[in-house]
């Protein structure tokens, strides 16, 4: 396995708050790396640092061997890194198809408009939006909008996919379906870095897990190792019920 994304001693401060502190880890090619941690641990900030929404105070982000630290988001997207948003960001007055066409046109594939339509449709069908292709994005349910986030990211044919809580706010049937979609994405050879609060889901999906707490890396390893790590249970899973849930999975 080779490293696809290398995070090197990343630091980000907002005024007096250190959102990400001296964080280093690596995402290997073709793996699913889970990123967990309590609210405010710096997970979404980390995503924003990786895809260029924020520039870090110090440290480096290396993607496929190239330094992409502080690059604007559109160049990061072009380089082959796609993401979804925790708070969905549909292009509301455009249809599902058009939303995906934007990504196919301007993402890694950088397709001409005439050829983007097919890639866009494929992505939408892949996540289960086949019957909503011509609906306006603003008219989708929350589950639909989450799927659209995913479809849009996929339409770019990315090398690395950042998923920011795609399961949050979905009911259990929808979660099951989404987990299946994520598995099939990985089978296509796309590497995934995902943030998720649903423990059951992330423990079963991930090959490895990185635990963040107050902007720092608390633990890293296989789901089993992380779930049994005393430091994680102590600091992050202070709640005994949640700890039991972890052990149940492990």
């Amino acid at each position: 396995m080779t490293a696809l994304l290398v995070i090197e001693r990343l630091n980000m401060r907002f005024g007096g708050l250190a959102a990400v502190q001296d964080l280093s880890f690596t995402v290997e090619e073709h793996e699913i790396l889970g990123l967990i941690g309590p609210n405010g641990a710096g997970k979404s900030t980390l995503f924003n640092l990786i895809n260029g929404v924020f520039a870090p105070n110090s440290g480096r982000v290396v993607f496929r061997g190239a330094d992409i630290t502080g690059m604007p988001p559109y160049l990061v997207a072009r380089a082959g890194l796609a993401r979804t948003h925790q708070i969905v960001q549909p292009l509301g007055a455009m249809s599902v198809r058009e939303n995906c066409i934007v990504s196919a046109c301007f993402g890694r594939e950088n397709l001409p408009l005439a050829r983007a339509s097919k890639a866009a449709e494929e992505a939408a069908i892949f996540v289960g939006l086949a019957d909503r292709l011509d609906s306006l994005a603003s008219q989708l349910t929350i589950a639909g909008k989450k799927r659209l986030e995913l479809a849009r990211a996929l339409a770019a044919q990315p090398t690395l996919l950042l998923l920011d809580e795609v399961l949050a706010g979905l009911n259990s049937t929808e979660v099951e379906r989404m987990i299946d979609v994520i598995r099939r994405i990985r089978e296509r050879g796309i590497t995934i870095l995902m943030i998720e609060h649903l423990m059951q889901a992330i423990m079963t999906l991930s090959d490895r897990i990185v635990v963040l707490n107050i902007g720092q890396k608390l633990a890293e390893g296989s789901p089993t190792a992380v779930a049994n790590d005393p430091a994680v249970i102590e600091a992050y899973l202070g709640d005994p019920a949640l700890a039991a849930e972890f052990r149940g999975v492990a």
Binding site: V53, Y74, R78, P90, L91, C105
Partner: protein, 325 residues
């Protein structure tokens, strides 16, 4: 997209029909009054249609779009009076100069968003007006008068007015086709994505700074050329006429009335607004009342029909969307 494919699209021919209508209608019966009416409508269409590239596509409200028109007028009038250039080359070079100016300013002020951008566009217009008012080579506050001699190459004043009319109709046609071709292009898709949600567009890979600056620059060209033709026609230009914010505001009302973000909307809006305006201007009870009406109209549109006339039509016949852009 190949030329053959574009020729097969009905909308291409709808634009052609509009241009033909403008070209032919006043010629029948040599109707000078109708020509003057349509000339003003054409100018409104040019202003609103190009404004729409920023307002309707990229979602940036440009309150000071008239600066392009006025500056274009000044360049053209200056090139002709001081350097002895012909009308066409003066207007075109003036347009290119204004486009370059827009690109320069655009790279600066397009870092701003929402109300801040809108305010800065007013600032650009006011700053340019203050500069020109104090710029001696352009006649300062008194402006530049053109000698009627300059109409001779166009066959004398009476004939020149027809030539200018056809040139403006040509610029109007180019504006509509530009708006249409941008809309169906990848560039247009990027602009529409920026208009919907700029941050999301960036994350999806749309090169937002470059696209916005390009749209701002392109939206300056044809209004500047039109400004050259318009002020040549009047044989006189002064800062208060050239940089009159009232014109900018009217262009916004027109784009909103017709339907921002559509190609046909600004044309429809311009035509209706021009009819309304000329009626209000000539009516005894409502003299100069058109701005009050414009303000009220804008309020009603923003509150009750944000899609304008085209949005309203699409609401009735959704299939219309496939034919009328």
């Amino acid at each position: 997209m190949s030329a053959a494919m574009i020729l097969r699209r009905p909308f291409f021919w709808i634009i052609a029909a509009i241009i033909a209508l403008f070209a032919v209608a006043p010629t029948l019966g040599n109707d000078v009054e109708l020509r003057e009416d349509l000339l003003l409508a054409a100018v409104y269409i040019i202003l609103a249609s190009n404004l729409n590239l920023m307002l309707g596509y990229a979602g940036y409200v440009n309150f000071g779009s008239i600066v392009f028109f006025g500056l274009g007028g000044y360049f053209c009038v200056y090139f002709m009076s001081a350097l002895g250039w012909g009308l066409a080359s003066a207007a075109l070079v003036g347009g290119a100069a204004v486009s370059a100016f827009a690109l320069l300013f655009g790279l600066g002020i397009l870092r701003l968003r929402g109300a801040y951008f809108a305010l800065s566009t007013i600032g650009v217009n006011e700053a340019v007006m203050a500069f020109v008012t104090n710029f001696a080579p352009w006649g300062g506050g008194t402006g530049i008068y053109l000698s009627t001699e300059l109409f001779q190459p166009l066959g004398g004043p009476a004939h020149a007015l027809w030539v200018i009319y056809y040139m403006l109709v040509g610029v109007m046609g180019l504006s509509l086709y530009l708006s249409y071709f941008i809309k169906i292009s990848k560039f247009g898709l990027g602009l529409l994505a920026i208009g919907q949600n700029e941050d999301a567009a960036g994350v999806l890979g749309v090169p937002t700074p470059r696209y916005k600056a390009l749209a701002y620059c392109v939206s300056a060209f044809l209004p500047a050329v039109a400004g050259g033709l318009y002020f040549f026609k009047g044989a006189f230009i002064q800062p208060t006429d050239a940089f009159d914010l009232q014109f900018s505001t009217e262009a916004i009302v027109i784009a909103m009335l017709g339907g921002q973000g559509t190609v046909l909307g600004p044309a429809l809006g311009a035509f209706i607004y021009e009819q309304l305006r000329s009626w209000l201007l000539t009516s005894d009870t409502f003299a100069n009342f058109q701005l009050v009406i414009a303000g009220a109209l804008l309020l009603v549109i923003v509150l009750f029909a944000p899609g304008g006339l085209m949005g309203w039509l699409y609401g009735f016949w959704p299939r219309l969307k496939k034919v009328l852009e």
